[in-house]
């Protein structure tokens, strides 16, 4: 799935770029360019879940929004089942929106506190004129059943629900227009472990029932391993490694992937990792290090790493794996 002449099914993202310019002007601070997305390419096969992992400031949330054009990319191609998404505008873009939806991280901010659940779910159907009022009411009730909430929830307001229940409502809303592609931005990060598992189970069931493609953005490697067949690791606006999730976590080729995996706590006191307290910060996206962005933290850094930014290269002998490193592990 890494070839650029992509088959028409699924979603392909090529060389996405998004920079933010801040400051400047008469009284502002010095002009700064924040390279939120420096160069990102992804492929999401139809009906599969692909993970996008990284820490704060790596740009994964920006990628999530750029792929849906909620944030306009500066450059790059986004192709969804053969449709050039960036070329759409006006009515065509609004129609496309039915096909690709977003599930949010914060269940407390993702629902309008002044609307009932019914209003929240009916609104998209009414705006897109998808059915008579009776049909819409039935669709909404079916949506509630699908996410496992009782029909009487419809007349209630967001504040009456717990975090997990709100997340279910958010998922119902994302599915109400019958999309085939869901971008989930940290959908379970704000939830307790037991509720997390419920929501992940729900998402998996929905994926299987509806054949949805997923772009699953998360910082939690355990969750990504559970849900995503393929994963890309992001660092400071670039993809540093990608491939089948189990493989890249069990046998990482990029030093950052290894660091990420090693730092992810495992519920097994017998496997205590050596904790290092030395402060090593994530660099700012406004002022990235030259060459490979990871080199200041990399134990294997050499001269070439400081000078030249590595491009993703396929990993020999392993299908679908790429790594962006001059000296892969």
């Amino acid at each position: 799935m890494n070839n650029r002449d992509s088959s028409p099914s699924g979603i392909v993202v090529e060389h996405l770029r998004k920079h933010y310019v801040t400051g400047g002007g008469l009284f502002g601070r010095a002009r700064q360019t924040v390279r939120a997305i420096a160069d990102v390419s992804l492929a999401i096969p139809k009906g599969q879940a692909v993970g996008l992992v990284g820490e704060s400031g790596c740009g994964k949330s920006t990628v999530a929004r750029a792929v849906l054009r909620l944030v306009e990319p500066d450059a790059g191609r986004i192709v969804h089942d053969g449709i050039d998404v960036r070329a759409l505008s006006g009515k065509a873009l609004r129609l496309y929106r039915r096909r690709a939806q977003l599930v949010f991280q914060d269940p407390y901010a993702s629902l309008n506190p002044k609307r009932t659940v019914r209003q929240t779910l009916e609104e998209p159907l009414r705006v897109h004129r998808m059915g008579t009022p009776a049909e819409i009411a039935r669709s909404v009730e079916a949506a509630m059943a699908e996410v496992g909430l009782p029909a009487e929830s419809l007349s209630r307001y967001a504040y009456e629900f717990s975090g997990g229940q709100r997340q279910r409502i958010g998922i119902a809303r994302a599915l109400i227009l019958q999309p085939d592609f869901i971008v989930a931005d940290e959908p379970v990060s704000a939830l307790d472990v037991s509720v997390q598992a419920q929501i992940l189970q729900l998402l998996k069931k929905l994926q299987q029932d509806r054949g949805l493609s997923f772009l699953f953005v998360s910082h939690d490697l355990g969750v990504v391993r559970h849900f995503c067949y393929l994963t890309s690791v992001m660092y400071l606006g670039r993809i540093v490694e990608s491939g089948p999730t189990a493989q890249i976590l069990d046998d990482p080729r990029h030093p950052y992937t290894r660091l990420l995996r090693d730092s992810s706590p495992v519920p097994d006191p017998g496997h205590r990792i050596a904790l290092v307290s030395a402060a090593q910060e994530l660099p700012s996206a406004a002022n990235p290090p030259p060459g490979c962005a990871f080199h200041p933290r990399c134990p294997h850094a050499r001269d070439r790493c400081r000078a030249e930014t590595p491009a993703p290269q396929p990993v020999a002998g392993q299908a679908r794996r790429t790594v962006a490193c001059h000296f892969p592990l």
Partner: protein, 338 residues
């Protein structure tokens, strides 16, 4: 630096002894318990983790110990909190102030809101020293530099005069820790100190906490919902559900042989980075509201092992036969109780 070997259970000298504590909230004119009949001891130089999800009462426990409950509508309804010979629950606000930041310190989840954004970091650390130890401004400053170095902040001398917003999240948390340990407290309460941090930064901060615990001989109560972080640094673990401790065990035992159905379910629901997670089993249902606690076991509704007795009678926290270090609150799994 690797963490030190865990303290053995034989060093049983306790630093904090909570006995039958009940923390209540006034809701619609009635008192409801968020923490019920909690008994816990924290031993010298040990890291006790309190694990639970939302509504378990774990944060309330820490706030109750330090008397940080809201003035109106919350109270410690029963029990004692024994610390250095005094019952903290009975002390006046003035007396508590002498203990907070001095003998018992607390670190919170969000360093940005817990640090004063308009005060330089050095001053904030020094504040604690000057208030409790009465040192001079210059001496407080000197000690603050040492503390920043101890928590691993490079260029401590210059960073002393920086404001909190000039630090990243992980650094701010280190500053908070520096403030907390400034007066060399006997006990550190850490309420989700790494939850808001990235995973690589979390590892660093946990290492800092470990090092400090070793070098200062202090005890730590580590409150979290993250079972992975607990496995990394805890000596003993208390699992809380709906305001009660349901299981308490040394860390290796808890993970290898979880006894209470909730502990077991929690571990089975957690996706792991190191192995395939096909069998991720969610726990159905939700935590009961504190206004509607069932008469019997609070977990009964969601428990696959439930028997009739569980719904009518509330189990006590009793040690497993032959293992005094591992109390469990369950009729089915704890033979002591049948």
């Amino acid at each position: 630096m690797n963490r030190t070997v865990s303290s053995s259970a034989c060093a049983a000298e306790s630093v904090l002894d909570i006995r039958g504590m009940r923390t209540e909230f006034l809701i619609d004119g009635q008192w409801h318990a968020a923490v019920r009949d909690l008994s816990l001891t924290v031993r010298r130089n040990e890291t006790l983790a309190i694990v639970g999800e939302s509504g378990s009462g774990k944060s309330m426990t820490a706030l109750s110990v330090l008397g940080l409950l809201p003035a109106k509508g919350a109270r410690i309804g029963a029990g004692q909190v024994m610390f250095e010979g005094q019952d903290l629950a009975r002390l006046s606000e003035r007396q508590m102030r002498r203990i907070r930041g001095n003998r018992i310190a607390m670190v919170f989840q969000e360093p940005m809101t817990s640090l004063n954004p308009t005060m330089r970091v050095g001053e904030q650390i020094g504040e604690s020293l000057r208030a409790h130890k009465g040192v001079s401004r210059a001496e407080a400053r000197r000690q603050a530099v040492q503390l920043l170095l101890q928590v691993g902040i490079p260029s401590a001398q210059t960073r002393l005069d920086d404001y909190p917003h000039q630090f990243s999240g992980g650094m701010r948390q280190r500053v908070m820790i520096a403030m907390a340990i400034a007066c060399q407290p006997t006990l550190l309460l850490a309420d989700e100190p790494t939850t808001a941090l990235d995973v690589t930064i979390q590892a660093q901060v946990l290492a800092v906490l470990n090092e400090l615990k070793a070098s200062q001989g202090m005890s730590m109560v580590f409150i979290t919902h993250n079972l992975g972080a607990v496995a990394l640094i805890a000596d003993r673990v208390a699992v809380m559900y709906a305001g009660e401790i349901v299981e308490l065990a040394p860390v290796a035992d808890l993970y290898a042989r979880p006894v209470h159905p909730y502990t077991e379910a929690l571990l089975a629901a957690m996706p792991r980075v190191d192995r395939v997670n096909e069998d991720l089993r969610p726990i159905p249902g939700g935590v009961p509201s504190i206004r509607a606690l069932p008469a019997g076991c609070a977990y009964a509704d969601r428990c696959p092992l439930k028997i009739d007795r569980c719904e009518t009678e509330a189990p006590r926290l009793a040690p497993l036969p032959g293992d005094v270090e591992h109390p469990v609150r369950c009729f089915v799994r704890n033979p002591e109780m049948t």
